[in-house]
Subunit: 492 residues, 2 copies
């Protein structure tokens, strides 16, 4: 058990947790967003992040601090918290990015971890190798050995109360990511960044991002806090949280603002293209696009950064509320409609249904059927698996109708996408589902697969299916032994 991280609530693979950061003396509620502070450029002051945006944790770069004359001395002298004027948890990166960018850096893991300890970082980082996507297996494996050595070197440093990141690399090779995660989890280190996914996010390869995270999660214990490194766009917070990511970091809020780019939960807009500000935040409620365009560069950048922060923290609250309400997948459904690549990401998530199992989660909210993707949700698969274990005998009517019938030994309800179930389960999640009146073929096909599971598990029973005019694509999936009755077309 990881002693610094405790899970409080879960939904899908998403969770609300508490990360105890002993050196800062704070507990950070996850999912958490860590604004990235460039020690050389202040867009929004850390004290304002803490007071106005309720940021509990931020991340800055110890390599830049160490390489910059004045900063290095101040950090060693005052400590990071005083230098940045921030009382929450401070995470420090190590220079891995600079290593990847420039080919070498002038510091070892031991040196940078000791420096991070000395400047008062709360969570330090070794110099891992951020292997980019799409490299050969050989390169990914070779670089993984270097990352593992960096983790071992970090473990050997006497860090006191400082927590230490154990980055998980492996490029786009799922088995390497899983192996790297398993090895990282076996160390004494504390937090697990999934690294080098920024190139995937920048090119909208959200499906592959999900596959990478899913692979890493398979190698980590459920008690491992996972940081999706470089993930700062609010459009994918719900998706990534549903796959089990606990920490996000945003440089985007400031970098995008510098380019007049405006974040939304559905994508990115350019200020030049906006005729209206499509947001409720304090900036957008009191300015028109023309007001912002008329400001000088610094002022406009600050206002856009504030908007970007508001929408990022607001989306994080939405994600957390969805986890508490047990409707995180419903939020993912909505976010999947922001861009076709987000739909790909959601479709990829659903292929990992085995990893999305919820422990007996008592949900206040009903399952909402919101798209043909909903037919592939884990709840549907779980219901089908349960049908294998539900015995039934004699003459059995499976019907979409409400009434019973004395002509049968048993009358079960049928609800697309779940399929058949005994009426006693009608009040049990997920069979309390809200479904559309205009049923689609995907829901009927999933229900037909449920019928098949039940029929196969009960070869001695005789089944009749009374359906509401299902599509041929669904009916063809029902075993031939089942008597079909169309409740809409047939007269009884």
């Amino acid at each position: 058990m990881r002693e610094h991280f405790e899970l409080r609530h879960t939904d899908v693979a998403g969770r609300i947790g508490e990360l105890t950061v002993p050196r800062a003396g704070v507990t950070v509620e996850t999912p958490a967003l860590m604004p990235v502070i460039n020690p050389n450029i202040e867009t929004v002051a850390p004290a304002r992040l803490e007071e106005e945006f309720d940021a509990q944790v931020l991340i800055t770069n110890s390599y830049i601090i160490r390489s910059t004359e004045g900063l290095r001395e101040r950090a060693l002298d005052e400590g990071l918290h005083e230098m940045l004027d921030f009382s929450g948890a401070i995470v420090t990166d190590s220079g891995s990015f600079q290593l990847a960018e420039y080919g070498e850096i002038d510091v070892t893991t031991r040196e940078i971890v000791e420096f991070q300890r000395d400047i008062g970082s709360d969570i330090g980082t070794p110099v891992d190798i951020p292997t980019p996507p799409d490299v050969s297996r050989e390169q990914a494996e070779r670089e993984l050995r270097e990352t593992e050595q960096a983790l071992a070197d970090a473990e050997a440093v006497d860090v006191g109360e400082m927590l230490v990141n154990a980055p998980v690399q492996g490029s786009t090779h799922p088995d390497l990511r899983e192996e790297a995660a398993r090895n990282a989890y076996a160390t004494d280190l504390d937090v697990f960044p999934v690294g080098a996914v920024v190139p995937l996010m920048n090119s909208y390869r959200y499906a592959e991002m999900i596959d990478v995270v899913a692979a890493a999660k398979r190698g980590l214990g459920v008690d491992a806090p996972v940081h999706l490194f470089g993930a700062g766009h609010p459009m994918m917070f719900a998706l990534a949280a549903a796959m089990g990511c606990d920490l996000f970091d945003s440089a985007a809020y400031a970098l995008y603002a510098r380019d007049d780019r405006y974040l939304t939960v559905r994508g990115t807009e350019h200020l030049a293209d906006l005729d209206y500000l499509p947001c409720e935040c304090p900036v957008c409620a009191t300015h028109a696009p023309a007001d912002l365009r008329a400001r000088d560069d610094a002022e406009r950048e600050r206002l856009l950064a504030e908007h970007n922060l508001h929408v990022s923290f607001g989306e994080l609250r939405r994600v957390k509320q969805a986890i508490r309400g047990g409707n995180l997948l419903e939020l993912v459904e909505a976010r999947a409609r922001g861009h076709p690549a987000m739909l790909d990401g959601y479709r990829a998530l659903l292929t990992h249904a085995d990893q999305l199992e919820r422990e007996d989660h008592v949900s206040k909210d009903a399952f909402f059927y919101l798209s043909t993707e909903s037919a592939r949700r884990p709840e549907v698969r779980r219901h089908h698996a349960r049908l294998d274990r539900l015995p039934v005998t004699g003459e059995v009517l499976l019907t979409e109708g409400k009434g019973g019938s004395e002509a049968y030994d048993h009358v079960w309800r049928v609800l697309p996408p779940f399929g058949p179930f005994p009426r006693e389960l009608s009040d049990v999640y997920p069979l309390t589902a809200e479904t559309p009146e205009r049923v689609d073929s995907a829901a009927q096909e999933a229900a037909a697969r449920g019928v098949t599971r039940l029929v196969e598990g009960n070869p001695d029973a005789a089944f009749t299916l009374a359906h509401d005019d299902w599509d041929a694509a669904a009916l063809v999936l029902v075993p031939d032994s089942v008597t079909l009755r169309n409740r809409v077309v047939d007269t009884e």
Copy 2:
């Protein structure tokens, strides 16, 4: 041509327009949201609505004013604008609601329209009969005759510069709604409320609401400003705007606040159920749910009303920005995932594809394929219709691949959900579409229907379809005369 209303931009059946309100001397940009002011209960002062929320128009009830001793005299004396302290346009309702609720009211259309004129209303309303959903055709027709008489009575009043509403009734009978709209449009009256849809919205019957609006729109000229009467929940603004609604009114912001209910673009939350405030507005950015719960009733009601207003006006900006960007249906896609009944509403909208035709709208944004519903968007149908008029001869390769082939006379591209097109059209909307990598059967089936249209229009050409491993459900739709090649499975 209705002289008080001009269209500026359109997308789907949605539009940005300008409603000139001569008596107030203002031009209201539509879609517009009119907060409802109860003359007896002030939740948020009209002056604040104007200053802080940028409300350009509000609506109040002239019947209540006329029936309330002190108010009646003040309104006649000072005029509505001074009494309410609001300089934008003021719409007045007539007491129809009270008539429906209590069976009779003590005022005629002539009297109430004259009263509205006398108190300085900018848009008045006759006493129409708000026939509820699901009544018999006979009742709906009978009450429609009374509503038509009320319209005629209002026309006969000398109202000066005041505009006058011409409500469209007809219950849930589409042909009656269409006829009522045609008759209303034939009067000299100015604004067209679609009436008595509140019961549909309250019971989440969004599909039927869309059918009712679609019917009314068929009877109205495109230049008629349409008010979806009683529609104040931001979750359905995008859907209703896409069907061509220009005006919304919100009593919800105040009524919901009184019950501790919190509006979002995905539905309604109860304050008691919230662990986080899932919103970016100035209220939610500075309060936690516990802060709100700790306030006294009046203060909590005001703060919740402010949140409800912020999210309503924010969503309206989002809708307007989407119309400008040509991506209103993409916003509807996202909103359809708020509740299964919203999905029903979107599916109903798509059945009115003939009414959603856009005039040669040059869109900056690409068509986004975001769900299996996207396969039924008007752009797909329009492309299929265009295929009837595209002649092609000889040996024709239709391929999902990028390359050409010398073995064919013509090589056309195939893109699900659109189907085939000559490469010269690749840069033309909607064929610039962004589509997911993980293609679904609905997109392939739509593309197969496109292939069929092309084949049927060119009986002398010989077609080969090189597809990326389409589902059987799609391939079965392709005419037998077409040679099939699977680019994924076949080796060439």
